[in-house]
Point group: C2
Chain length 96, copies 2
């Protein structure tokens, strides 16, 4: 089965936290959630409610939208080939 | 308060569905969720579990990652000014 949303969210939250060199304890205290809850969310074992996800992102000082954008990429990696199209448009502008 | 994740997800699911000209009934039947549940999810009144969100996206024939990427943009709108840079790069390529 494909990766579930809660797993992708958990992976991303853990990545942000560990990149900041912070412990589960620090972030859970800051977000006012239990350490066990945060740990379960990070492992994709529990669905975070929207309110608690917002609190966790706030504690991590990361915009929730950025987390979700990364989650979207993790769930559907897409290569969008924009540069050639822009280059063509730019070349046409230059030629005009 | 800022938009909650479930509200942004609901907005996006509704947008995808209405863009396809499909009814709540059609999509809820296809996703095997109740019409009332789908309606509550679309209105941001209920948290969709990861499994049911996957089923709804499957019924809408849209990758869940694409939905989340759009949700991420809605939650943290960022203007990235890529075209002028690409145009400059392209112009330099053309000039070279």
């Amino acid at each position: 089965m494909a990766i579930l949303l809660r797993e992708a969210i958990g992976d991303q939250l853990r990545r942000v936290r560990t990149d900041q060199g912070r412990t589960l304890r620090e972030v859970s205290t800051s977000a006012r959630v239990s350490l066990g809850y945060l740990s379960e969310v990070e492992r994709g074992q529990k669905e975070a409610s929207s309110e608690l996800l917002a609190a966790i992102c706030d504690a991590l000082d990361v915009p929730i939208g950025d987390v979700l954008t990364e989650v979207g990429r993790a769930l559907s990696p897409v290569v969008i080939d924009v540069i050639p199209a822009d280059a063509t448009a730019a070349a046409e502008l230059v030629a005009a």
